[in-house]
């Protein structure tokens, strides 16, 4: 059993194209990570992501660029826990 970490990302940028959510879900699926994404508004997205720390880092890296139609200005990362996680999939909230 590999270690698990859960982090929350606060992503600031321009998400008006509406393509970020699907792009992020696709990335979570490729990296076998669980959690959720919540688009608060066109400039503010919250993500919680859980899984192997190396894959969580890879996920953060991908989210820092996203699709071409999206501009990510800043991404803040906060560790929530280092234990097991209840989410079994990646949800769009």
């Amino acid at each position: 059993m590999q270690e698990t970490t859960t982090v929350q990302l606060t992503v600031l940028g321009d998400f008006r194209s509406g393509e970020y959510t699907d792009w992020v879900r696709h990335r979570a699926n490729i990296l076998d990570l669980t959690g959720w994404i919540n688009t608060r508004d066109n400039n503010f997205v919250e993500i919680e992501i859980c899984g192997n720390p190396i894959l969580v880092e890879a996920f953060e890296l991908a989210c820092s660029i996203g699709p071409y139609s999206v501009t990510v200005r800043d991404i803040q990362v906060r560790t929530v826990s280092n234990g097991p996680y209840s989410c079994s999939a990646f949800e769009v909230r």
Binding site: R27, I30, L31, A58, L61, A62, S64, I65, P67, Y68
Partner: protein, 282 residues
Amino acid sequence: MAGLERAKEDWYPIAIAGSTVDGEQLDTSLLGINITLHGDKDREISVTADGNNLPVQTRYDHVWTTFSENPRPLFDIPEADEAGRVLVPCGVVRVKCSPLRAVENFLDIAHFPFVHTDVLGAEPHTEVEPYDVKIDETIDEVIATKVKFFQPQAAKSAGDGIVTDYVYRVAAPMVSILYKTCPPKPGSQDVITLFVQPLDEETCNVWPWMALYDYENSMADMISFQQMIFVQDRSILENQLPRKLPLDPKMEIPTRADMTSIAYRRWLKRGGAIYGALTEAV
């Protein structure tokens, strides 16, 4: 064409300074446009496109030109003027890939054990330790620091394997500068650069240049060492798909070891430097 106007604002290397003789004309291409370099009687070089003169300057042992009347200033490498360094222009390598791919590969260390086996890397020393990357807003450059990698023969002047420290700068979309541990002079750093001439979006000339503290090896040996390294890189670059650099990495799987690559792409995207790039994921 996407990104062409932005690309025209930069300076590009087109020859090694002093390599043309009087009266010689050299046809080459830049951003898909045919240009001609004229070796002049009084050893002043001029460059023309369609009969019109382009701005020219000689710096870092290369001849640079631009299409802009009001170009972005050529980047600064202060170490170039330090006394005691040997300045080594390494010639040119033609590569069938996007000029941006050539820069991205130069920023990559994870390939050393596989592409430059037993020279810049060797199994089992494949792990990439965390390092720092930032986009420096004030100087508008990408900077990677605290990069460390085990190298069996880091430079022509290195004997046994050492852990090499690296700092990378991306000073222009098609220019990357690397500072690395200098085996014969602890505390100092060798400077190795990649100057890229975009022939078009999918072909480039790469002009490596070095500023080293190495008094033991001949110039010819240092050049052939660097050329050997770059020819190994070319076998990768000409076989990477797609040929242009995707700014959307949806079809790729970057990990922490690719942090510099992603920062470089973000920086290109932000600056609109998309000549040689793909904006959609394919």
